[in-house]
């Protein structure tokens, strides 16, 4: 973990550190050389850690009052909302926290896409991140089932039925997932168990994610490899800690507005109706953060292929480091990629929008075009772009314009993008 040996000052500290090098770890974390030109998009790693811890703590406290039983789940949630001391606060933080978590993770992912953070030597960080993202979706989906409202029940029914698309064994798998012939009490209790487990798996993966990050160190907006430690870096503490803290507080203000002033705006009204296996709500819509994938699912007219398309849309991200053939990391120096990047962002937003709309007429057509473009971006545009694109020359170091004489064209570009 450390090239230069750290020696604690006190005797006790040394004794302890020789046996369990926690102090070396702490020293590594505080001194960790971080590129000094990281912009605010880099603060979302810290924000995500906050989100995970918030979800775990509020989740644990909710679990002390929640009853995972089909007959009592809805009532126990109402009990939390009405009677438990601060129960309404804890539940609203947890429910909106899921949305804030996804908001932050999408920014985190798109930051990585813009600055090429997934490229060598950071492929493992990226793949761990995709696994975390998948687990987050699983946790969020199962968590949404727990209040046992109409959307919980029908969301669970629709999503578990995706597995029935698998040839031959599909039906058997679905019955196995349900523990019965429909979504019912056995389904609820196992979803609760898994919903409780997954955050801790995520926590473990987050540790690996950060560990893997600390091997090559952070990427940076310029996207070049830098010497560490050097003039280009600052120690993590206090520089990055205070900056992450500032960004986190801004994030918390947005979070607080949702929790205190529109706690149900991101949810769905139908989930305040207790689950009823006899009546399906008029519009079944997943939570906003799953909408783009829902749109991809619905845009394919074949059941099996729809599921395959949806899964591929996520899994394609895992092989992204090898689909992107460009040697240049940061989009700042890739004028063409930068344009395609923004088209992709728009594409995903469009997918999200049509995912919330009924799958018919114009919406369906838009969804199909957007789905096709999504795959085109990753499978065709990115690999070709790496060979064809004329990139802007990259600087040799972050501090170059400060130290060197004339700022080159690349530096000017970089400055410009900073001002934007």
């Amino acid at each position: 973990m450390s090239e230069h040996e750290y020696k604690p000052k006190s005797k006790v500290g040394q004794w302890f550190n020789d046996r369990l090098p926690l102090l070396t770890l702490a020293n590594h974390l505080t001194d960790y050389p971080t590129p000094k030109n990281l912009n605010y998009w880099w603060t979302f790693g810290g924000i995500l850690t906050f989100c995970l811890i918030t979800q775990i703590i509020t989740g644990l406290t909710l679990a002390m009052h929640y009853i995972a039983h089909a007959d009592m789940a809805f009532e126990s949630v109402e009990h939390i909302m009405r009677d438990v001391n601060y129960g309404w606060l804890i539940r609203y933080i947890h429910a909106n926290g899921a949305s804030m978590f996804f908001l932050a993770v999408y920014i985190h992912i798109f930051r990585s896409l813009f600055y090429g953070s997934y490229k060598s030597p950071r492929e493992i960080i990226w793949i761990l991140g995709i696994i975390i993202y998948l687990l987050m979706m699983a946790a969020a989906f199962m968590g949404y089932v727990l209040p046992w409202g109409q959307m919980s029940f029908w969301g669970a029914t629709v999503i578990t039925n995706l597995f029935s698309a698998i040839p031959l064994v599909g039906e058997g798998i679905v019955t196995w997932l349900w523990g019965g012939y429909s979504v019912d009490n056995p389904t609820l209790t196992r979803f609760f168990t898994l919903h409780y487990l997954i955050p801790f798996l995520i926590l473990g993966l987050v540790v690996l994610h950060i560990w893997a990050l600390h091997v090559p160190g952070n990427n940076n907006p310029v996207g070049i490899d830098i010497k560490k430690p050097s003039k280009d870096t600052v120690p993590f503490h206090p520089y990055i800690v205070i900056k992450d803290g500032f960004a986190l507080l801004m994030f918390m203000i947005v979070f607080a507005f949702f929790v205190f002033y529109s706690p149900n705006i991101l949810g769905h009204a139908d989930n305040y109706i207790e689950a009823n296996p006899m009546v399906t709500p008029a519009h079944i819509v997943p939570e906003w953060y799953l909408l783009p994938f829902y749109a991809i699912l619905r845009s394919v007219p074949d059941k099996l292929l729809g599921v395959v398309a949806m899964l591929s849309a996520i899994l394609i991200l895992a092989v992204l480091p090898w689909l992107d053939t460009s040697k240049i990391r940061s989009a700042v120096f890739r004028p063409l990629y930068r344009q395609f990047y923004w088209i992709l962002v728009a594409d995903v937003l469009i997918l999200g929008y049509v995912g919330a709309m009924p799958a018919e007429g114009l919406y369906l057509l838009i969804a199909r075009v957007a789905t096709a473009y999504y795959f085109l971006h990753f499978l065709v545009i990115l690999p070709v772009l790496g060979f064809k694109e004329k990139t802007i020359p990259i600087p040799l170091s972050i501090t170059e314009p400060v130290l060197g004489g004339n700022p080159n064209l690349a530096m000017a570009k970089q400055k410009e993008s900073k001002i934007e």
Partner: protein
């Protein structure tokens, strides 16, 4: 750097840390308080018991706030025995007159004050209750006489709504 400047910076950092710490503490409280009895539990504070069918010398046990409450209709012998005890002989001196306003009726929490077991009726060296867990002996007024328990069994708040009904809580 001038000394004045250093001081102001120190003040800024101290203030930031202090304000941050206050906020962190404020966030911790809801997480702790959620484990306290909730509004619905607090509301279930009282229960009414019909004691018309109870004969002298008999005890019924009812549940109140999740704990057993002994209601004993005492015989005259038991009352006399309880009232004749000298205060010096008691581990936790309390007059029977204070424990049973209406001498015929003893209403008390059936929970041993040692570690919370439920004592057995009509057992022990003092004709009252005996706790099988660690051998505490209680007399006919529910007072601790022998064994590890430190106090007499607790008398809850109760009242006679009418001649046949006791309201506990």
């Amino acid at each position: 750097m001038s000394e004045k400047k250093t001081k102001r910076r120190d003040f800024l950092f101290t203030a930031t840390t202090a304000v941050g710490a206050v906020g962190a503490a404020a966030v911790v409280w809801p997480m702790i308080d959620q484990m306290n009895p909730d509004a619905s539990v607090k509301a279930l504070a009282s229960t009414e018991v019909d004691v018309s069918s109870l004969n002298p010398g008999n005890t019924i046990t009812v549940l109140w706030r999740g704990k057993p409450v002994f209601i004993r209709r005492r015989t005259q012998d038991e009352i006399d025995e309880a009232r004749s005890v000298k205060m010096e002989d008691l581990i936790h001196p309390e007059k029977d007159e204070d424990r049973a306003k209406n001498p015929e009726w003893l209403v008390m929490l059936g929970v041993c004050t040692h570690l919370g077991c439920v004592p057995l009726n009509d057992k022990g060296d003092y004709n009252g209750w005996f706790c099988p867990c660690h051998g505490s002996h209680y007399d006919t007024s529910g007072r601790i006489r022998k064994g590890p328990a430190p106090w007499n069994m607790e008398i809850p708040k109760y009242e006679f709504v009418n001649a046949n009904t006791i309201k506990i809580g």
